[in-house]
Symmetry: C2
Subunit: 229 residues, 2 copies
């Protein structure tokens, strides 16, 4: 009975699609909830409210609160590594670092909750991220460090410790997501808008590029896209 089989297959596919949709919906709403209160401070009741579902459904899909939290973290990690893609030896240092900083600032603005969940995890000893930090991240940093050293050796930028340069860039860009409450209090504004992000991006670009012996004009050197200084 091919008709019945097809219907069954379609049903299975639909079920799978619905299931994946539910999983993604739960993970996304959980990201926001965990960002507000951290792992320990977020209750299953709160997570269920955030997803608009009964608690039992979350347990049905993820088993435990910890497994749901890990799913949220994994959903975030690729962002961090992918942002480093522009840093390749062929590109000009100012252009590559500028693109990296803009990508990081963009993520702070677009995915502030993701940044906060990550920050909270690291802050409290990263018990769920040991492997990621000591393997994937470490490898990626080592790889990009070689690119920076290559630029320095060729005299294309000043001699700066590449690893600490990354620490500085991470800190300055992620702080726009993680510490937004502090910024809003100091600036006296209800929310960080385009103006604040623009000013922040300019400041970070300035410190990093000048610190590396480059100028903000170097940014568009060899770039074909529209000028955006």
């Amino acid at each position: 009975m091919p008709g019945k089989q097809a219907a069954a297959a379609e049903e299975t596919a639909n079920a799978g699609r619905i299931r994946r949709g539910q999983l993604l919906h739960i993970v996304e709403s959980a990201e926001r909830a965990f960002a507000e209160a951290g792992f320990a401070g977020t209750t299953m009741t709160r997570l269920a409210e955030a997803a608009g579902l009964p608690k039992a459904n979350l347990h049905y899909y993820f088993g435990t609160k910890e497994k749901l939290y890990r799913a949220v973290l994994e959903n975030i990690l690729t962002l961090w590594l992918d942002d480093m893609a522009p840093i390749v030896p062929e590109r000009a240092p100012a252009e590559a670092l500028g693109a990296y900083i803009r990508a990081k600032m963009g993520h702070s603005r677009a995915r502030p909750h993701a940044s906060k969940v990550f920050a909270s995890e690291i802050l409290h000893g990263a018990p769920h991220l040991r492997g990621f930090l000591t393997h994937e991240l470490r490898r990626r940093v080592a790889e990009k460090t070689r690119v920076i050293e290559h630029w320095i050796a060729r005299g294309r930028m000043a001699k700066v410790d590449p690893v600490h340069l990354f620490f500085a860039i991470w800190a300055m860009t992620q702080t726009y997501a993680d510490f937004d409450v502090q910024m809003r209090a100091v600036l006296g504004c209800a929310a960080l808008g385009t103006a604040e992000y623009e000013a922040g991006e300019q400041t970070v670009l300035r410190l990093v590029l000048h610190g590396c012996g480059l100028t903000t004009e170097d940014i568009n050197e060899g770039e074909q896209g529209p000028c955006r200084s």
Copy 2:
């Protein structure tokens, strides 16, 4: 009976002294415990263990877990504001900013737990610090912003947004306490030692000073202490 009165007074003084000692001891051990797991993630049992006392004693002294946490926070806040003291119009910009950065880096190294408790509080919306952020901190930043603007107006440093400059300095220096786990994983070392802090301080100094149109040599301009570049 002056003798008895004196003894009673001494006893009271001793009791007061012991009490203050106990309070301080509990607050200091609680700082470490809260830094490890955040407010929600730290149990009274854990706090009691950290202080080496029964749970009931903590409740006797502080009433509730939240009041103990607030005591820890208040113990920390003055640090943040006091570090800004070097920023006065009379000093040379490079020297003042350099002193500020070294003070902040010094605190990250000497009081990493304090930094983490503060970071965790801000990260989760600063429910216990609203007043501090919107009053004390905001006022202090406004005051120091005027100093920076004064330097810029006199052509003593480049035109940089003062508030975002502070955000950048806070982020870059505090990350050495808050994200030490990530740094240790990337660097492959068991603990951040003098070498790492030196390299970090040099990097932060470099980015900030060059970003402000100053050079690292400007730092000792007009300074009478020993050269420490």
